[in-house]
Symmetry: C2
């Protein structure tokens, strides 16, 4: 397969971890006879520094002309802590999502055996957890009409959804469930909200196309409990924007390390892959940044193009690195001198010589 | 102090646990020379059975004429599992809250030392947790305008708040924090929602009246993480209706037993106290229902009337019962023959003879 990939390393530890992901994708291309071409562009604080714009046209044009985007992280204290800053690095990411029509955010949450001890939850509860959360990303109350009364004493936000917004992400979720444990859980609040009742109706209709997948429903307040009591019960979670924000952030901490969590943002014609961790500027250049989230983002990229064996091999390599403790200090209390690129090298080697 | 208390035992285990709470309140009245009078009325499924109405006028009138309401629990499978049922037990509770103007729901979450092992969270994380959640109960998106387009393809819900709704519960939260650890955390999504920005503005204004209390802010998605990562950081949490629903339900499971969790619903002129557990009809009449949540609701009733020493003694008695394992089988793996009324009797005895 030929793939054109835009690489947007961004700020802080973004470049270091993205380098490892590119290394891994190159190894995969070589082993499986694919042609992946990479072009790098600036985004975030570094783009503001160079061009006064967190998402320069040049970067956006590159992203529009490629098959996929590998994104690092953005943000820098010099902008974040300056209330007078007119442009902020994060605007680059929001604009990119909007311009590319990325309507679905996908967040896997998995409990890795060698890291079970790091979870705030008890081992027995977290062991076996493997969830993929599909969060609608461009609709709902975050983007609905906002009003503030003239006297400043009343304010409102509108949560609105339409059929097409629900259908397109529902199809993605059901397709994903097919390749997993054949279960979709719709998280909503249909006992109270009209928009949730619309989600339930339309998702039930979509489910008719996927008779091999079970659909069940969970109110968001109950979901927030179940994520702690029994996260193993979940396979694919499908939900609207704000509920997805809350539930996926809650889920992100049960695994015990944010340094392992990848994500994808997907639209009809474009897709972007990124670690959920931030730019962590304090660690920049020290070689201590954990590249696994970025490498697992690359695995999600491979999945997106149905290169399942390739993605599986990357995940196998990651599992091996965790098992052998070839990991950075954030999750490694035994060996504290293993660097970002040591981890990338190990995973690259494993891809060339799996054993 | 003279207090007229309406007792609404309701359905399932409601009567059994409420009996113990009344027993405890009578012991307190006797020890501290108060005059508490109790009048009982029907609510829920039992009221439907008798009068065809989950909240008969007679019950509502009694509640309106008393100082406080001690509520059991409502719900019965014969109505819950019947989709054709025209009246449901739960309607009694919703109508009661509305008629009495109960705008604030208060939910304490505490980690009890003898029960630390029962939490899904690790001991070190949960130990020391002591939170009181103030959730706005009558406004926001649950009660805002709902619309469904004629073609059934678009739906919306409006989240609206006004100054008065925010001010009145903010004052309750700050007053509570004063008597606790002097900290209020406002949970909102002010980076995105106009209504959250109004909450932030007004709560900041109210905070000026409570210079001895610290106010901080937390986005709801972050709050959902922090509740798992470090619940000890919280003292009083103040939040709007839907965020409060999600966060308080999430918090309810971290302590390890729902059988201990009490709540209060408070308005300008009325107040109601109830366990958060349901009617649990399977356990009805077996003497295995845990009365502690109901007894702790009675302690919240005492607090509400500023009978702090009295409330403290009830809590001390509860702590003692947990420590000595004078508890029902749901939280007692050692002794499985201790009944609902055994627990109530022990707490009553302790109030008469604390040692
Ligand atoms: Mg978030
Ligand atoms: Mg709830």
């Amino acid at each position: 397969m030929k793939l054109k990939i835009a690489v947007l390393p961004g700020d802080g530890i973004g470049p270091e971890v993205t380098n490892q992901a590119v290394k891994v994708l190159k190894a995969i291309a070589s082993e499986f006879d694919h042609t992946f071409s990479f072009k790098t562009a600036d985004v975030g604080a570094i783009a503001i520094d160079k061009y006064g714009d967190p998402l320069p046209d040049k970067t956006l044009d590159l992203c529009k002309s490629t098959d996929a985007i590998l994104f690092g992280s953005i943000g820098h204290p010099k902008y974040d802590n300056d209330p007078s800053a007119k442009v902020r690095p994060e605007q680059g990411l929001l604009k990119l999502r909007k311009e590319l029509g990325l309507f679905a955010n996908i967040r896997p949450v998995k409990a890795y055996k060698p890291l079970l001890d790091k979870s705030p939850l008890k081992k027995a509860i977290i062991d076996g957890t493997d969830i993929s959360i599909y969060r609608e990303l461009t609709g709902g109350i975050y983007f609905g009409k906002k009003e503030l009364s003239e006297d400043g004493n009343t304010a409102s936000d509108l949560c609105e959804y339409s059929r097409i917004e629900i259908e397109r992400i529902a199809h993605l979720a059901f397709k994903a469930a097919r390749a997993r444990k054949q279960k979709v859980t719709l998280v909503d609040k249909a006992n109270v909200l009209e928009s949730s009742r619309l989600w339930r109706k339309i998702v039930t209709e979509v489910a008719a196309d996927y008779k091999d997948v079970d659909l069940d429903f969970l109110f968001v307040d109950n979901a927030a409990m179940q994520m702690i009591l029994n996260p193993k019960q979940f396979d694919v979670i499908l939900t609207e924007n704000m509920f997805g924000d809350i539930i996926s952030d809650e889920a992100s901490v049960i695994g015990g390390s944010i340094g392992l969590l990848a994500s994808a943002s997907v639209g009809e014609t474009h897709a972007m892959f990124e670690p959920i961790h931030g730019s962590y500027p304090q660690a920049e250049g020290k070689g201590i940044a954990n590249p696994i989230a970025s490498i697992l983002s690359a695995a999600m990229l491979l999945d997106h193009f149905e290169l399942y064996n390739e993605a599986e091999l990357v995940r196998l390599a990651v599992d091996k690195s965790l098992k052998l403790k070839i990991t950075t200090p954030d999750i490694n209390s035994e060996f504290d001198s293993i660097t970002t690129s040591n981890v990338g090298d190990f995973i690259e080697d494993f891809i060339f010589n799996p054993n």
